[in-house]
Amino acid sequence: MLEVDDVYKSYAAADAPALRGVSLRAEKGDFLAIMGPSGCGKSTLLHLVGAMDQPSKGRVLVDGRSVADLGDDELARWRRQKIGFVFQFFNLLPTLTVLENVELPRLLDGDNGGTCRERAQAMLDLVGMGTKSRRFPAELSGGEMQRVAIARALVNEPSLLLADEPTGSLDTENGESVMRLLAGVNRDLGVTLLLATHSSEAARHARRHVHMRDGAIEALTENPDVAASV
């Protein structure tokens, strides 16, 4: 489903490459937690997989297709249809209601009909925010905002969900609640989930742990707790 093949990423302003020969595979329904200290390259890897950036060298294949071959419009469509993003700071539009925020990816995809609203409402119900669909982001708590962001990421039924430090701005309780929700999404909807985090609490829910340091994968381990439960 996802194949990262010997990927390098360098930035002009940086002394050392952000990624050095990273290779990784994930199958459909997989749940990987990319772990490591700040600056180890985990977010960079996530951005490359999410087609938000291009590798300096190597290939990233999603469903057998290299994102490097796609033009800007195709990339945008790719992000819209194949990938869902969850960010540390939620990145909700403050002027839109909860429901409208979730509808956004579908509107971008040209869905202006009733299914757009139904689908968005269904996603909000799924993340437990169905009753607050008319509220604005400023009226929600951090944990609630992250649930809305997850609903938005899922509304186009992506095959790959990328979460970049989704619990980084939340307290322990809310963080745990969001992680349980993400794990449930992975388990129940079969969405492949890549989680970048330096929190071992958050990583506890992943099936496999990818340990990174200085832009390279140091180790890839199975999470026995989750593996056993599956």
């Binding site: 951005h47 999410g50 938000m52 950036d53 800007d72 419009d73 945008a76 469509r77 790719w78 992000r79 819209r80 249809q81 993003f85 960010f87 700071f89 990145n91 909700l92 539009l93 002027t95 839109l96 409208e100 956004l104 990816p105 509107l107 971008l108 995809d109 040209g110 202006n112 938005r152 990421a153 186009n156």
Partner: protein, 874 residues
């Protein structure tokens, strides 16, 4: 997409109501000014056009003398015209109607016709004439107007002034008062529509008596039997006409006036476009602020799958919406301002071009579909062009950059040196373009040169701003202690942002430069006119009829009034001057007639060529039948001393040698002056010297002009309506006309200044918002609120000061082109270049003060960014 647009753009516009309103108002104001000027231009010429068309009726061709009237005995030699069509002789003129309140003064167009011959050419529909038939027979019409004081007025005019059939009312003709009696009322049709109802119909004999032109005609109106052979008939008539007469279509007359006024209208349109540029600048500014402030949101939109095209379309849509709403509002506002524009330009138009402009009909001030199409057709594409930059910037926002917040850092760089090349090419083009002549009297290349100059200067703005900031940083260490650090930081901040804010500052520079250029041109013109007046006014009292409201209208002083003036014991000499319109090529010039002997003895003219003109030279010119031409004539037609001008006379076209070129700022259509004796010999149908339109009185030594003026006015009494100006009051009158002429440009200046202030505010607001994290960091590092406020206010002052400095430099360069190229090509006047130093100093203080004030709001905003939350995202 519509729903996305509604949520992402409309909602944001609603949340930023203040900014959206300012942008819409800015565009509306720009469109309104341009539309108002169009309405004004249209209105000023439309009343003349309507008058020409209404009076022309079914006329196919008109036969006139090239200048002035012609002898009616010539009709005997034109009997052959009857074979081609119906011929109607006409005498036309204008009288002044003075209302009972003593304050109302309206111009009335008088048409004198031969009722028995005019019927096939024009139809007259009368009110209360016959129960079944409104149109009288020629005989019935003749019976109505057979008395010399009988007129048929329009029903509209009579209603407005409470007049009825049988009533008499006073009018002023030249300086004489006359009573006319209403014998019938015309409906609002045909000739009755002339000048919005300010029209009187008379018998031709009555009109000849009224205008003191017995035995003379203004023209013959011909209605051809076969309308289809118009060109053929015109050619045939032209071949057989006696010398001194010409044949033309009624439209030709309007065309000549239209061509003459085209440059004036073009310049007004060009100045009006300044306000449109201001509106476009506001669109650019508003969108730049939107994109800057919503960078993270745009990044998120891109992250969830918005393509570049979708992103750019959203912001172009925003510009489109603002432009359409602004243009719509502008059209409505323009309709209202149109009335103001008509009033503001009427003085200039009636003084220099057409007297009929004084009666601009209300109908001509209405909004036409062409105005709507023009406003939208011009504003929408320009609005989209203005929005293109910010929209493309939005489309280039990388989802990654926006989420990380690194996009702004990447754009902080030293301005490109390519700007020097761009500016060099633009300036080179400017120097080439200013050498090109006008196109049909319109300074197209002059304005193109202004545009290339603006573009070149705008390209240099970021580089100059960068260099000025470097200089400021060096100098900041000598600022007072509390200002040193904020000063240094302000310089560094602006230097880093010089590329980013370059366009906004350039737009500000352009606004200020235009203001400076226009002010400079007006000041130079004012200086020149004042200097010219001081040099040429030698007479002690200047006299003209009250009806003469225009430098080109034809009005006469009566012999009785002249006799009263001449008999005054203090009056030593009188120099009379008369003018009439003359056809010259395909346009009109003024043919003046003065007394060269008095000019040689007493008068003073400011000569452009030859360098020295003695009294003997003037007398010799009079003896040899030579002419003087005004500088505007010289520049307009490329004639100078020694050349010949060919003028229409009753005996055909004749050549006259030019003896001198003199400066004249009283009209710009071009004047040819001949001595009164030459005029009587060659131009007068009856060999008489013309009745003067004005007179200059030279008093005996020791006589007090004011005392003489009072005495003369008393002697002239109510019977002769003359205006008498002493030198001082003439100067005041000239300056009144001058100020009225340029009133509209002052209005445009105010708009430019308002835009400049809004520009500074918007630009600073953007800079501050972009740097909110850096400002927050300064706070965390220990900078006080007051230091941050000072830093932002200093940035505002630097932007305003630098813009004003560049604006003055650019404005001076633009004024040079305005004064020495555009003005000469449009108005054919040379102007002495005089910078208004006091105004420049005053405007500098104002702009800097406005910049400081504009900086206070962003400064207050900046101090709110000092929360840890602003840094958290880093």
């Amino acid at each position: 997409m519509p729903r996305l647009f509604s949520r992402f753009i409309l909602r944001s516009l609603w949340h930023q109501k203040g900014r959206s309103t300012i942008t819409v108002l800015g565009i509306a104001l720009g469109v309104a000014v341009v539309v108002a000027i169009r309405i004004g231009n249209h209105g000023s010429i439309e009343s003349f056009k309507t008058a020409t068309e209404s009076i022309a009726g079914a006329t196919s061709l008109q036969i006139t003398a090239g200048s002035g009237r012609f002898d009616e005995l010539l009709l005997n030699e034109l009997g052959w015209l009857d074979g081609l069509g119906n011929v109607s002789p006409v005498v036309e003129g204008q009288v002044l109607f003075e209302g009972h309140d003593g304050e109302t003064a309206e111009l009335l167009q008088v048409l004198g016709i031969d009722a028995l011959r005019d019927r096939p050419v024009r139809s007259y529909y009368l009110l209360e004439f016959d129960d079944r038939r409104r149109e009288p027979t020629p005989r019935q019409l003749l019976e109505l107007i057979v008395d010399l004081d009988a007129v048929i007025a329009t029903e509209k005019f009579a209603r407005q002034h409470g007049l009825a059939i049988g009533d008499s009312f006073p009018v002023v003709v030249g300086d004489r008062r006359r009573e006319l009696t209403i014998k019938g009322l015309l409906l609002d049709e045909g000739p009755g529509r002339t000048l919005d109802g300010n029209f009187l119909l008379m018998d031709i004999a009555g009109a000849q008596e009224l205008f003191a032109c017995i035995g003379q005609l203004d023209r013959l109106d011909v209605r051809l039997h076969d309308e289809d052979s118009l060109e053929e008939a015109k050619g045939a008539i032209a071949e057989r006409l006696v010398p001194g007469l010409i044949v033309e279509q009624p439209d030709d007359r309007f065309g000549r006036v239209d061509r003459m006024i085209a440059a004036f209208h073009f310049n007004l349109n060009a100045l009006g476009s300044v306000s449109l540029i201001v509106g476009l600048f506001l669109i650019y500014n508003s969108l730049t602020i939107s994109v800057t402030m919503r960078r993270e949101e745009i990044g998120m939109l891109r992250a969830v799958g918005a393509s570049r095209v979708q992103t750019a379309s959203l912001f172009l849509g925003q510009a489109l919406l603002l432009t359409i709403v602004g243009a719509g509002l502008g059209l409505l506002l323009g309709r209202i301002l149109g009335e103001v524009a008509v009033r503001a330009t009427t003085v200039a138009v009636e003084t220099f071009y057409i007297a009929e402009a004084a009666v601009a009909s209300t109908a001509s001030q209405s909004l036409r579909w062409s105005d709507v199409g023009w406003a939208l057709g011009l504003t929408i594409p320009l609005g989209l062009v203005a929005a293109l930059g910010p929209a493309l910037e939005a489309s280039r926002v990388s989802p990654l950059e926006a989420i990380r917040g690194t996009g702004r850092l990447a754009s902080a760089r030293r301005p490109s040196r390519w700007a020097l090349v761009v500016a060099g090419v633009a300036f080179l083009l400017t120097t080439v373009l200013v050498r090109f002549p006008s196109v049909d009297g319109i300074p197209v290349w002059g304005y193109t040169a202004e545009l290339t100059l603006l573009l070149g200067a705008a390209a240099l703005v970021p580089l100059i701003l960068w260099s000025l900031c470097r200089l400021w940083e060096v100098g900041a260490s000598s600022l007072p202690r509390g200002w040193r650090v904020p000063g240094k930081l302000a310089g560094a901040n602006l230097r880093d942002a010089s590329t980013r804010i370059g366009v906004s500052v350039a737009a500000l520079v352009v606004s200020l430069a235009m203001m400076v250029a226009v002010a400079l041109m007006i000041a130079s013109f004012r200086f020149t006119v004042t200097y010219w007046l001081d040099r040429i006014i030698s007479a002690d009292i200047m006299v003209r009829p009250a009806t003469l409201n225009s430098s080109i209208a034809e009005s006469q002083m009566s012999p009785e009034a002249l006799a009263i003036l001449a008999s005054d014991p203090d009056v030593e000499a009188i120099d009379t001057f008369s003018t009439r319109q003359a056809r010259f090529g395909d346009t009109l010039v003024t043919l003046g007639c003065g007394d060269f002997q008095v000019l040689a003895a007493k008068g003073r003219l400011l000569y452009a060529a030859p360098a020295r003109m003695t009294s003997d030279d003037v007398r010799r010119a009079a003896r040899d039948g030579e002419v003087f031409i005004s500088e505007s004539f010289s520049l307009r037609f490329g004639k100078t001393v020694g050349d010949e001008v060919r003028l229409p006379t009753p005996s055909g076209e004749r050549a006259f040698r030019i003896a001198a070129v003199y400066y004249d700022y009283s009209n710009n259509r071009g004047t040819v002056v001949v001595d009164r004796r030459t005029f009587a010999r060659l131009f007068s149908p009856d060999g008489q010297e013309p009745s003067p339109a004005s007179a200059a009185l030279y008093l005996r030594e020791g006589a007090d002009p004011e005392t003489t003026r009072t005495r003369l006015l008393k002697r002239l009494g109510e019977n002769h309506r003359l205006l008498l100006f002493t030198q001082a009051s003439l100067r005041t009158e000239v300056m009144r006309i001058f100020n009225s002429t340029f009133a509209i440009t002052y209005g445009l200046q105010i708009i430019a200044i308002a835009a400049a202030v809004m520009g500074v505010l918007g630009t600073l607001y953007t800079i501050v918002h972009e740097r909110r994290r850096e400002i927050g960091l300064l706070g965390v590092m220990g900078a006080t609120r007051s230091q941050i406020r000072r830093m932002i206010v200093l940035e505002a002052t630097l932007v305003g000061g630098a813009s004003q400095l560049l604006g003055i430099l650019l404005g001076i360069a633009m004024a040079v082109i305005l004064v020495f190229v555009i003005n000469v090509q449009s108005f054919h006047w040379t102007i002495q270049f005089r910078p208004p130093w006091f105004f420049l100093a005053q405007s500098t203080v104002l702009v800097i003060l406005a910049s400081v004030l504009a900086g206070l709001y962003p400064a207050a905003r900046a101090t709110r960014f000092r929360s840890a939350a602003e840094l958290r995202e880093e």
